[in-house]
Amino acid sequence: MIEYLPVVESFILLYFIGLNGVYLALNILSLGGIARYMQSRDVAGLPHLFSGFAPPVTIIVPAYNEEDHILNTLRSLFQLNYPECEIVVVNDGSNDRTLDVMKKEYSLAPFPEAYRNRIRTKPVRAVYHSTVDQRLRVVDKENGGRGDAVNAGINIARYPWFCRVDADSILQKDSLLLIVQPLIEDPTVVACGGTVRVANGCKSKDGLFVEADLSRNPLVLFQIVEYLRAFLYGRMGWSPMNAHLIISGAFGIYRKETVVAVGGYRSDTVGEDMELIVRLHRMLSDQRKRYRITFVPEPICWAEVPDNLKQLKKQRIRWQIGLVESLMMNRGLLFHDSGTFAGWLAFPFVLFFEWFGPFVETLGYIIIIAGFMLGFISIQAFITFLILAVGFGVLLSTSALLLEEMSFHLYKKPWHVIVLFMTALVENFGYRQLNTVWRVIAVYYYLRDKVREKLANRKQQIRS
């Protein structure tokens, strides 16, 4: 057993080198991307350059038990600075007063919409039209999950682009104008995601974002650094290669006909937002179509993140299962013969480092700690490994802070920088490891459910 230790050690070391190497490469790509974006940003702010190009957009808000948030969200959507848009809220069989509060506030009247069931959804009970603001329609349907709700919204959308917004997202006045710019500049764009930041602790008014601030909750601070990493170099790095595998459900815009053509959102996965993007890559690659799935580095959407461990664990397990399902449902994209970066780089990277990665990382920590305790690994090697693991983590987080400082510097006060740096340091002692363990648990749940499903199917086959 012990003779295999060096092999395992080398494998784990190679894994760490590979993972951090890719992250550093993404970082370098992001540096160039951010610099270019910032150079052109001042000019893009001039209203007349893009005016007239902005396409009409249907904003779809799936809402399940959102009685506390929905009015705020609608207030913010009505204040968006955009030439032509309509808002479709889909009440996905809420058990609370989501529909009632909207009925009261926007004086909703039943509307005999000649509903076109282009994408199959759970039955629609009624469609309402606001008598206060013509732009608002509400679909009331049976519960079928977020993907199913968005599909119902797509079915009654009147415009060629739809923008999906979560009911608890906080936007800025120019969020929609900013997210359509890539589609104006490049006609091959089929979907575009917005950069999402953490809303906890920030100031907002009438549902619109006003000023960024830091929460005092360490768990929230850890997530702020995580979001900076994920969006500033995660997405920014993959963007030039057209290899994004996810657009956050919190805020993203999609070409309606393309989404309808691939069958809309799937309702049998918890990660329907990622699954759709991976499927778009797969199916558009199959069809040999020229397309781009891109994203806007500008922070344009603010989302509340979990502020306690229980909720955070639930969210992370859901995300990991969503990731695994998205990859498994679209494994045809792996090394796709169209030769796209999505199939040859992003998919294998996510599969190896995010699907299997948590197992390797956990194994690495166990072997190093156990090896040290049992005397197989010297104290020098043990400390070096720890410095490397933690040091790379801090380096990647610090470089995300650098990208933020080079670009949007939303956290205005000088002490914000100090707090974020301290957070980048501290999150490597426990928080990241905890996340890794949750991801292992998620994969275990996924595999367990798959086995149960297979057994149930087999039993049914035997019976029949």
Binding site: P112, H129, A381
Partner: protein
């Protein structure tokens, strides 16, 4: 030996990582200090210049302050942002243009024309258009021919602003060729040039264009006079036309509300292509007579949703169709789709009136 080597490498890498982290942190703090300085500078700059640019019309005799070299780009941005909002105010517009010349931002714009960044070029193009600066005509013309949709369109707009008459022979052939120019923006350029100058060349270009392009170009006739637009449409429809161009022709007829074309429009209500039927229904909603009600009612049972929707809208739009009459029509229909679509459109119209 082997594991010792790995350990030594790992040891040095970890030292390098720690050093890099410390360097990055120092650099971040340096950037923050720089940012605070820049922000203070732009705030002071904007506070000084915004009132001068917006309220300076009475102080023509006063010379505007000098602009530091480092502030020229910021000034260009500020000038364009304020200039866009004041296009209708001739006094301020002239004042701002004179300030631009005096402060030399026209020269800054000319320099930006040669930059690689598309957005810097765009800023320059828009500025020169606003200043009606003819000195860069040839470069703007070359940019109008560029593959980049946004840049070529901005250059075309600048040319139209600088010299409407000279721009027409450049812009009209470009409109024919450029599939990537948004229709609304093209219509706005044509509207800016004016129907007197643009109508004839546009009509000629449409008549010479192949069917695929004709389909896209015909709706621009809306920006011309009916005396020029309608004969073009009639000539196309009498040719016999390609299926794809009939819809746009019906759109133009509907826009000019020419009742002489009623017979022509009615014949397309039964066209095999559903786009044509939908356009014909919409057109009848504008120019139809009482006898068209039954024809439109027949379209309520069309297999295509858009045709049913346009027919229902047309019925509701016809001035003689009272709500009672439409309800009656609805009750007579045995087809559920027809009843549904009529009900939807009735409620839509009622909501709009509210």
């Amino acid at each position: 030996m082997h594991s010792d080597l790995i350990l030594t490498i790992a040891h040095w890498v970890s030292i390098a990582v720690v050093a890099l982290v410390l360097f990055l942190m120092t650099y971040i703090l340096f950037l923050r200090a720089l940012l605070l300085m820049k922000e203070r500078r732009y705030r002071d700059f904007s506070m000084l210049w915004s009132p001068i640019l917006l309220n300076g019309k009475g102080n023509k005799q006063d010379r505007p302050p000098r602009i530091n070299y480092a502030d020229r780009f910021s000034f260009l941005i500020l000038w364009n942002t304020l200039r866009e909002g004041k296009d209708g105010d001739v006094k301020i517009r002239d004042w701002m243009n004179s300030v631009a010349i005096e402060t030399g931002i026209d020269r800054v714009a000319i320099r930006l024309l040669k930059k690689r960044s598309i957005r810097k070029k765009l800023l320059a193009v828009v500025t020169l258009g606003q200043l009606r600066d003819k000195s860069q005509w040839e470069i703007l013309y070359q940019m109008a021919l560029s593959d980049h949709a946004l840049l070529s369109l901005a250059a075309a707009q600048a040319l139209a602003r600088i010299d409407r008459e000279a721009a027409v022979p450049i812009i009209v052939p470009l409109i024919v060729r450029r599939m990537d120019w948004p229709a609304a923006k093209v219509a706005s350029i044509l509207g800016g040039i004016g129907p007197d100058l643009v109508a004839k060349p546009l009509a000629d270009a449409i008549m010479e264009a192949p069917a695929e392009e004709m389909q896209r170009l015909i709706p621009y006739l809306e920006t011309c006079h009916d005396a020029i637009a309608l004969p073009v449409v009639h000539r196309i429809l009498n040719d016999p036309p390609h299926d794809k161009v009939i819809g746009p022709c019906l759109y133009v007829i509907g826009k000019f509300r020419d009742k002489n074309d009623l017979k022509l429009v009615r014949q397309y209500l039964t066209h095999p292509r559903w786009h044509v039927r939908a356009h014909a229904a919409a057109c009848l909603g504008r120019i139809g007579t009482k006898e068209d009600e039954a024809k439109l009612a027949a379209l309520l049972a069309d297999p295509e949703w858009w045709v049913r929707y346009r027919a229902a809208q047309a019925i509701v739009d016809l001035s003689f169709s009272s709500l009672e009459r439409i309800r009656q029509l609805k009750e007579y229909r045995h087809d559920r789709y027809a009843r549904d679509i009529l009900e939807q459109v009735i409620v839509e119209k009622r909501l709009i009136r509210q």
